[in-house]
Amino acid sequence: MREALQNKLLAFIAHPKASDFERLALEVVRYQAQHLPPYGRLVEARGGDLSDWRSAPCVPTELFRDIDLCSAEPEQPLSAEFLTSGTTTGRRGRRRVPDLTLYHAGMMAPFVAHVLGGDTTPRHWLSLVPKPEEDPASSLSHMVGALGERLSDTLTWVMTPQGLDIDAASAFIQGQGEPLIIMTTAFALIHWLDGAADSLTSLPAGSRMMLTGGYKGRARSLEEPELLALIKHGLGLEAEAVVPEYGMTELTSQAYGRPFEAPPWLRLRVVDPLSGEDLPQGEEGLVAFFDLLNLDNVSALLTGDLGRLDEEGRLELHGRAPGALLRGCSLSAEELGVLGQP
């Protein structure tokens, strides 16, 4: 059953038709309710209605810290095991991935369209993200490695276990004549631009950058216009060549752009935090996803991010939803997490 469903999803990735999404989404969510017992129980607890994929209960992404949300048996060999950063609570979420076929199939087209601007000419890539061998639990490292393997001419990694090799990053861009591709998180980029202000040079025309992630408390934080100005000043890249990526460990697919645009197999949603119902376009709420390619995990996910959809269904992120105001003296879950308790 899984193989058949995976084949249908691969066919959808190859030739996406919007009208097929509804049918496939229902098949996927019913598969998950059947093969992932905790999710099946959740569906049951919410009334068991799976007549529409939008009625599939969303799982808060933070529950990946507490529950093994993977339909593969525990002893089944895995293709990957990704961990979240644990920035918010100190505890890391875990996502087991028994098969990366869908991941690899789904990552290409959106990346090529948005980050490479449709140009698949192999280029020299610079990654400020750690190598997959050095951080095998990072889904971002895996993605950069897998994309680089398929699309780059060369891929140079400058994030070492000791930290960012600023000199190596700066040396890489010197004397280059062809367009370059830079893969980075915001915090690593700022660290580089701050640390190498005197040794930066404008990148060759046609160079582009994939920019992802927050600052995770590791660098000074900047609003996007300031960051874009810093990039323009240091590397000569215009805003349109700097492409934001929105992905997370719990998801298989990625959204790109400004605002974020999802590939056909990923639906971006903004829901009312109380009812879980989709909000009309333009209203702010919690960001939720339905990711068809999360076949072995859970497709309907609820994040702690705030956002708004525009009239074309693209997502504008407004940051993290503020935590509830703590009124008392009780030890919070976050404090317990930091202390290494369950």
Binding site: P38, E62, G323, A324, R327, G328, C329, S330, L331, P342
Partner: protein, 343 residues
């Protein structure tokens, strides 16, 4: 003591205290009962002298603090009140630094006693903090471990330093008798479960799932006296717990509370807002949380010993600590005394 003026919650500073407490989001009934419970502990005959009894009779005046800085970084009004009372029992003047947004609580307390002054400043304002520390000879800090560590690092050794960190509490129930369930419901609803004396989990000797409807029934009766409006914040904070319970056990909601039965006895932190984990009894799992445990409400029998800092009390009394309660295992007055000078 002038602070006793607070005991009339219908006029004067007591009224202001009640209003400031409801402004924190507690219903008037929850605020009133919470404050009255604390004030009753103060006014119980013999309570003050029992606390003072911890001091040696030959204590030299030079060891009494003249001025105490109380930093209420994040705590309930009852804790701020008690810390202030203890400092005033030593005759010290008090500077009260309230948490952000809680200045009204401090002002209400100060209105009852001219020896208490309020010093609101941002927690990041180290200049103000250092100035306040320089002014006093003893500090009492109510807050997170991180806050305590930061303030302690700025406090000279010559000053007394007392800290009460954040803790969790739990309940142990081996009965489904109405009285025990009602008592647990009261412990849960007091201060809307926001206090470190509030139970976050209850370990039960019978089936947790079977316990849910019985406990829900008790809660419905208590909610009538102690209502809590379900705010947006509360629902958002409880959402992951609800989903988790639906996936791994069973959830049952009442008008204000969320009860989550699980098969695993492992302690789980509650998001608050009257969300209680109902777990199968396991003394071994109770022990894992012991270092962070403030109070264990007990109905029935527990065979394991618990560390001295853990307050054991009957269920129903969790939010009613006597004035002599050794908060976090510490005596109430002597930690505020000035360190002995070496000759």
């Amino acid at each position: 003591m002038k602070l006793f003026e607070l005991s009339d919650l219908d006029r004067g500073p007591g009224r202001s205290l009640l209003q400031a407490t409801t402004a924190m989001g507690f219903s008037e009934a929850v605020s009133r009962i919470g404050l009255e419970t604390e004030l009753r502990a103060w006014l119980k005959p013999g309570a003050i002298s029992a606390v003072e009894g911890e001091l040696p009779s030959d204590l030299r005046r030079s060891r009494y603090p003249q001025k105490v800085l109380i930093i209420a970084a994040r705590t309930l009004p009852a804790s701020t009140m008690r810390a202030t009372l203890m400092a005033r029992l030593l005759g010290a003047k008090v500077i009260l630094k309230p948490a952000s947004g809680q200045a009204a609580i401090a002002h209400a307390i100060a209105a009852a006693d001219p020896e208490v002054s309020v010093r609101p400043f941002s927690s990041g304002d180290l200049t103000e903090l250092d100035a306040a520390i320089a002014e006093v000879d003893a500090l009492v800090v109510l807050g997170s471990d991180e806050t305590i560590k930061e303030i302690k690092s700025r406090t000279p050794d010559t000053k007394a330093f007392v800290a009460y960190g954040h803790r969790v509490s739990a309940a142990w129930l081996d009965s489904d008798a109405d009285a025990a369930l009602l008592a647990l419901a009261r412990d849960l609803c007091a201060w809307d479960q926001a206090g470190c004396l509030s139970p976050q989990v209850v370990w039960v000797s019978s089936s947790p799932e079977a316990m849910l409807p019985k406990l829900a029934e008790a809660l419905r009766r208590v909610e009538a006296e102690l209502p809590m409006a379900l705010s947006h914040d509360a629902l958002v904070a409880r959402q992951p717990a609800l989903t988790y319970a639906e996936m791994m056990g069973k959830a049952l909601s009442t008008e204000s509370a969320l009860l989550c039965a699980l098969k695993s006895p492992e302690f789980r932190p509650s998001p608050g807002y009257r969300c209680l984990w109902v777990l199968p009894a396991s003394e071994a799992h109770l022990q894992t949380i012991e270092p962070y445990l403030s109070t264990l409400g007990i109905s029935g029998r527990l065979t394991i010993p618990l560390a001295d800092h853990v307050r054991r009390c009957p269920i129903g009394e969790m939010q009613r600590p006597p004035l002599t309660w050794a908060h976090d295992g510490l005596p109430n007055l002597s930690p505020m005394l000035l360190p002995q000078r070496r000759h």
